[in-house]
C-alpha cells in the first residue's frame, strides 16, 4: 500500500501543507493584520472561494464548465436573506407601512400578505436547509437533464449561463416577491443577534473561515477518493470510463450538485457578512468572475482556488481605489495572461516552477496539488 502510493503521497502532503498555510493565513494572520473593515472585506471574498472550490471540482477535475455558479451562490444568499428579512420586518419595525409585518419591498409593490413560499423562511432551520438544498435540487434538475443527454463542454457552459440570466430577469421582474434590482437590503439581526456590529462581523468571519476549511476538506476527500480519479478519467477519456462500466452522467450530476451546494453556502455567508443580497450576484458577470478566480488560482487546485480568489479580489479592490478608470484593463489583462500563459494558474506555477527549485524530488503529478492540463470534454 504505502509502497504503491509512495509517489502520489508527495502532492497529497504538499496539499496538506497548503491547507495549513491557508488556515494560518485566514484565521491568524489576517485578523491580526487587518482592521475589521478590511477583514470584513476578506470575509466577503472568502465567500466567493466556496464557489471557486466547487469549480475546481466540476471544471478543473471533471471538465464541465458552469457559467451559472452565480445562480447557486445567489439562491443560497437569497434563502438566508429571506429569513433575515422576515426577522427584520417585525410589525414594530414596519409600522410605517400600509401593511405592517411584511418586508418593505413587498409593501412598496402593493402586496398585502406574505406570499406562501416566503412563510417557511420564518424558521431558521428551514432557511439553513434551504441554503444547501435549493441550489442542489436546481443543480440536480439541470444536471440530470443535460448530462443524461451528454450535453457537455461549450453547450453546458452556454446553457448554464442562460439559466443565470433567466433567474436574474425573474428576480428583477418579480420585485414584489424578490426585492427586484435593489435586492433584499437592510438585514439586521439573526435571532435577535445584531449582525452589523464589529463583534458580530468578527464572529461571522471566523464562522466563514471554518466553513471554508470544512469545504476544502470535503473537496479534498472527494478528489482523493476513487471517485476523484473517475472524474479526472471522465474529463480526459469519457468514452473509456463508459466502457469500463461507469454511468458517467451520475458522476457529473453528483459533482455539479456538490459544487452548487458549496456555492449556496458561500452565498449564505455572503448575505450574513455583507448584510444584503441582490441580483447583481446571480447574473452572468459574477458567474464568469468566479470562474476567473478559480482559473487564476489554478483550476485543479483547491488551495489555488482560495488563493486565486483572495488575490484577484484584493487586486480588484486596490486597483479600483487607486485608478478607478483603469482597473478593467488590469483585470482583463490578468485573465488573458492566466489563460494563455499559465493555464494551471498559481498552483501550476507553484508546482512547476517554484517547488522543483526548492525541493529535491521533482515532477509532482496527481489529483491533489496539481494535475496536467485538462482537455475539455468534447462538445457533442
Amino acid at each position: 500500500m504505502s509502497a504503491l502510493s509512495a509517489v502520489r503521497n508527495d502532492p497529497r502532503r504538499l496539499e496538506l501543507i497548503g491547507f495549513a498555510l491557508v488556515a494560518i493565513l485566514i484565521i491568524i494572520v489576517l485578523p491580526l493584520a487587518l482592521d475589521i473593515f478590511r477583514l470584513n472585506l476578506v470575509g466577503k471574498y472568502l465567500t466567493y472561494a466556496f464557489v471557486a472550490i466547487g469549480l475546481v471540482l466540476c471544471w478543473g477535475h471533471t471538465g464541465i464548465l458552469s457559467l451559472g455558479q452565480g445562480l447557486f451562490f445567489g439562491l443560497g444568499g437569497y434563502c438566508m436573506a429571506a429569513f433575515l428579512k422576515l426577522e427584520a420586518s417585525s410589525v414594530a419595525n414596519t409600522k410605517i407601512q400600509s401593511t405592517p409585518g411584511i418586508p418593505d419591498f413587498m409593501d412598496w409593490n402593493q402586496i398585502t400578505a406574505l406570499p406562501f413560499f416566503w412563510a417557511p423562511f420564518k424558521s431558521l432551520p428551514f432557511a439553513l436547509i434551504a441554503v444547501i438544498l435549493v441550489p442542489t435540487i436546481l443543480a440536480f434538475i439541470i444536471g440530470a437533464a443535460l448530462f443524461k443527454r451528454r450535453v457537455g463542454g461549450v453547450y453546458f457552459a452556454i446553457i448554464t449561463q442562460a439559466m443565470a440570466l433567466v433567474l436574474t430577469i425573474l428576480i428583477v421582474g418579480q420585485q414584489g416577491y424578490t426585492g427586484g434590482i435593489n435586492g433584499i437590503t437592510d438585514l439586521r439581526t439573526l435571532l435577535g443577534w445584531d449582525i452589523r456590529t464589529d463583534g458580530a462581523k468578527y464572529i461571522l468571519y471566523f464562522v466563514c473561515c471554518v466553513l471554508l476549511l470544512g469545504t476544502m476538506f470535503v473537496a479534498r476527500f472527494v478528489l482523493a477518493s476513487k471517485l476523484g480519479r473517475i472524474l479526472v478519467a471522465t474529463r480526459d477519456k469519457e468514452d473509456r470510463v463508459r466502457f469500463s462500466g461507469y454511468d458517467v452522467a451520475n458522476y457529473k450530476i453528483f459533482v455539479f450538485c456538490l459544487a452548487s451546494a458549496m456555492a449556496g453556502v458561500g452565498g449564505a455567508m455572503f448575505t450574513l457578512q455583507v448584510g444584503f443580497m441582490s441580483p447583481s450576484f446571480v447574473g452572468i458577470v459574477p458567474s464568469i468572475d468566479m470562474v476567473i478566480f478559480c482559473a487564476v488560482g489554478g483550476r485543479n487546485s483547491i488551495v489555488g482556488a482560495v488563493a486565486g480568489t483572495l488575490l484577484v479580489n484584493w487586486a480588484k479592490t486596490m486597483f479600483s481605489e487607486a485608478f478607478p478608470e483603469l482597473w478593467l484593463f488590469a483585470m482583463g489583462g490578468l485573465f488573458i495572461a492566466v489563460v494563455v500563459a499559465f493555464p494551471r494558474g498559481l498552483a501550476g506555477v507553484m508546482t512547476d516552477q517554484i517547488l522543483p527549485r526548492l525541493t529535491s524530488f521533482k515532477g509532482f503529478k496527481g489529483t491533489g496539488g496539481s494535475g496536467a492540463q485538462p482537455t475539455p470534454a468534447p462538445a457533442e
Binding site: W108, V172, G173, Q175, N182, S278, S320, P324, L328
Partner: protein
Amino acid sequence: MSSEKPTGNLLVPTRRQLLAGAATLSATAMLPNLARADVPLTSAVNTTGLAVTDTEVTVGILHSVTGTMAISETGSVEAEKLAIDQINAQGGVLGRKIKFIQEDGASDWPTFAEKAKKLLVQDKCAAVMGCWTSASRKAVLPVFEQYNGMLYYPTFYEGLEQSKNVIYTGQEATQQILAGLNWVEKEKGAKTFYLLGSDYIWPRTSNKIARKHIENVLKLKVVGEEYFPLGSTQFNSVINKMKLVKPDVIYAIIVGGSNVAFYKQLKAAGIDLTKQTLMTISVTEDEILGIGGENIVGAYACMKYFQSLDNPNNKAFVPAFKKMWGEKTVIGDVTQAAYLGPWLWKLTAEKAGSFDIDKIAAASPGVEFKGAPEGYVRIHENHHLWSKTRVGRARLDGQYDVIYETAELMEPNPFPKGYQ
C-alpha cells in the same frame, strides 16, 4: 482599436489635473485665512473624530466611474467637484478647505456599500456626496446609519424613505409627478394615459403614484401599463399596442440605454412627438445626448431643473460648469441636484457651527440655498428639499424649453397618503 480613438477623450485626465491644480492654487491663495481669528478651533467643530484638521476637512465622492451606471453618474461627479472647487475658492467651510476622496462604486451595489464603509470608517469623511440608483442608495443606507455618516443623494427617486443620515437633494416621486400630470390635464386636455417604465422600483413606484393621481384625483383613465427589463432594446410590440389604443399621453419612465432604443423606435414607427403628447420624468439633457435631439424633439419632461433655466444663479452656474468640464458637456436635473450637495452641507455646517454629524442632521431642516441654479431650495424636516417643479419641451438641439413652472415650492412628501 486604439487607432480609431478620437483625441477628445484625452482631455479627461487633463481636466482632472487642471482641477487638482486649481484646488491647490486656491488652497495656497487662501492660506492667510488660517491666521484669521474667526476660524473656530478644530476641537470645537469636530468632537467625533472626523477627518478635520485646522486647514482641511475631508468629504467623500462616491459614484460609478465604471460599469453601466458610469453613463449617468459622470455628470454628478463633475458637478460635485465644481461645487467643492467654488466653495474652496470662497474660503472653504468653517475656514477649512474641502479635500475630497473619490471612490468608484463600479455600478455594483455591494461595492457601493464597501466603499461607503471605507469612506466613513477609514477616511472619516465629514460628508459623502454620492449614489445615483435607488439600489446603490439602499445598499449604502444601512452603512450610513450604522456608522453615522452624512449622505447627500442627488437623484430624483421613488420616495418611501427618510433617514437622519441622508439629505435628498433630488425630488421624490410626488414632487416630480403630480404637478406634471395636472399640467397635461389642464394644458393638453389629456383624458387617457399609457404608462411605461423600466422594470425596477423607481419607475414602478412612480407609475403607481401617477396611476393613483390620474384615476383618483384627476378622474381620468389609464389605458395601459408596461415594464421592460433594464437594457431592453425592443419596443416595437408596445409601440404597436399604443398605436391601437391611441392614448392622449404616453407617460414614459424608461432609463439608461433603453431610452435610446425607445425613442428611436418611436420615431421610426412614425409617432411624431410634436403631435403625440409624451411626458417623461427620466430623460434629462444627459440622456438626450445618447438619444439624439432629432428623436425626442417635442417630448415633455417634468423635473425641477433644466439647463436652459433663465435665472441669475443658473446664468452663472452653466458657464462655470462648461469652463471646468468643456463646452460640449450638458447639465441635467441630477447634475444640478448633485451640485447642491456640497453647498447645502457647507451652509448647514456653518449654521450648526460644527461638522459633527448629529449637529448637521439636526441643523439641516430649514437651511436654505439662495444660490441654487434651480433658483431657491430649502431643506424640509424630512430631509428632502422644497423645490419648484417645471415642465420642459425638448428641442432639436437636445435642450429643453421651460414652458411651465409651479408657482409655489412643492412640499416633499416621501410617504404620500392615498398614493400607496
